[in-house]
Symmetry: D2
Subunit: 150 residues, 4 copies
Amino acid sequence: MGKSDEPGNLEARIRSSFARQGLMSTLGATLGDITHGAVDIFLPPSPAISQQHGFVHAGAISAIADTAAGYAALSTMAPGKGVLTTEFKINLLAPAVGSRFVARGKVIKAGRTLTLAQTEVFAEQEGPPRLIAFLTATLMAIEGRNGISD
Amino acid sequence: MGKSDEPGNLEARIRSSFARQGLMSTLGATLGDITHGAVDIFLPPSPAISQQHGFVHAGAISAIADTAAGYAALSTMAPGKGVLTTEFKINLLAPAVGSRFVARGKVIKAGRTLTLAQTEVFAEQEGPPRLIAFLTATLMAIEGRNGISD
Amino acid sequence: MGKSDEPGNLEARIRSSFARQGLMSTLGATLGDITHGAVDIFLPPSPAISQQHGFVHAGAISAIADTAAGYAALSTMAPGKGVLTTEFKINLLAPAVGSRFVARGKVIKAGRTLTLAQTEVFAEQEGPPRLIAFLTATLMAIEGRNGISD
Amino acid sequence: MGKSDEPGNLEARIRSSFARQGLMSTLGATLGDITHGAVDIFLPPSPAISQQHGFVHAGAISAIADTAAGYAALSTMAPGKGVLTTEFKINLLAPAVGSRFVARGKVIKAGRTLTLAQTEVFAEQEGPPRLIAFLTATLMAIEGRNGISD
């Protein structure tokens, strides 16, 4: 990308990439803090992302959790590299009820080809945030393939 | 629900439940065939469900895959029961590129409390459908809890 | 390895590799049928592989299931390549009680770098075999690295 | 079990249960520290638990990781309850090479029916321990069923 990978640049890369994700905008998700190896994503509840019982759909929770893990992994890579999720598992620990959901992604182990990241998803409401989901994901680093970067 | 669980009724229950899922409507997903232990969901690509490289977002693929698994499990249960996903793993085998995506959920083993289901997601385009994702999910049967059913 | 990959050679490669697995011998596991993309492993119960309630330990079931998936993947690769498991999930559907356990591994999708395989584990006793575990695994192809092959 | 669940009793329950696991003895695994919600298991390498390239077999690493997660979950439960693993995923981050392996299980979220636990497995050798595997497991609490406890 022609620029050095200073912290400000890292954040700009990720914010620009996130803005290109149609799904995140459609779900109403927004980026929170971005640091080396950790990225937060916020999601407010709405009928547009519900399941049949009125909770937020596990698919929406999974989408922000996977995305937070992916950007956490990307935040540890050199500019010009991209990541693709090869697999994730998510444990859904409680129905997604709350005034806002926060997905906190972080890298567990960064590797040359494969990186493992985890995301904890918390539901905010009265009282302390409650852990409602836990994801682990494998991200594959991609370089110069099909024009994929960031 | 006061009715017997004849095939037509099963399909009606699932179509009614699916129609209450705001997320499926938001993503543009629709129900296909419903049989005892197997449910199909279709998803057309659109910029509204993309990730940053223009492919359909893994989160959207996961959402239809999880939903197909859930309804496949529900299709084996008595009326009045509901299901919640407790965990799923999805392996993403190829970028989600195609003219339409089909998630084919089916029950692997139905249990009293926990049911295991799998979903294969295929991308349609020219030629035979390509397998792009494979999910396994654990569904928990819920009865008379918080008014959850179907 | 200097030989062509004819069926007989494939089977010989896998039987030789399996024989070098100390753990399989320690557990009492043996190889069954080997075909292109599918491998069976047998395991008899014994106190040496039990958990605290007297069932066969999930760790022993997982070990044969992972191994069957790995050899199923290897069976689709050119001679000289090896495989390493990068991740697996196993759903344990019933306690491991039976007169013999059979792990049937098969390839779901073979890829250049990553291959997805599944293994069904059945318990044999009176009546038809019962499905007691279901595994999906990602296998990474390795070539010329640290002398890893087969 | 007729005794209160004081810390010493908790440790005694788990040590007694572990001693009944034939597989742990067969693998050469031993218990380390036990606290409320966290349990360590040690495993020395040996040819008896190897895979075909001479590394310790992923099945042996998985077995101690699953067991550490299970006892971490059990450590949070009342006496007389038992746990069964319903599923686990393990990411294998590096070949199992080292002078000793340590599986550190801990509870992520304890629930009435299902508990989520994680285990990090480290390889010890020169230098700081290296993380070689990461497992998440769902444990189901069992009470008064088939005489299962601890």
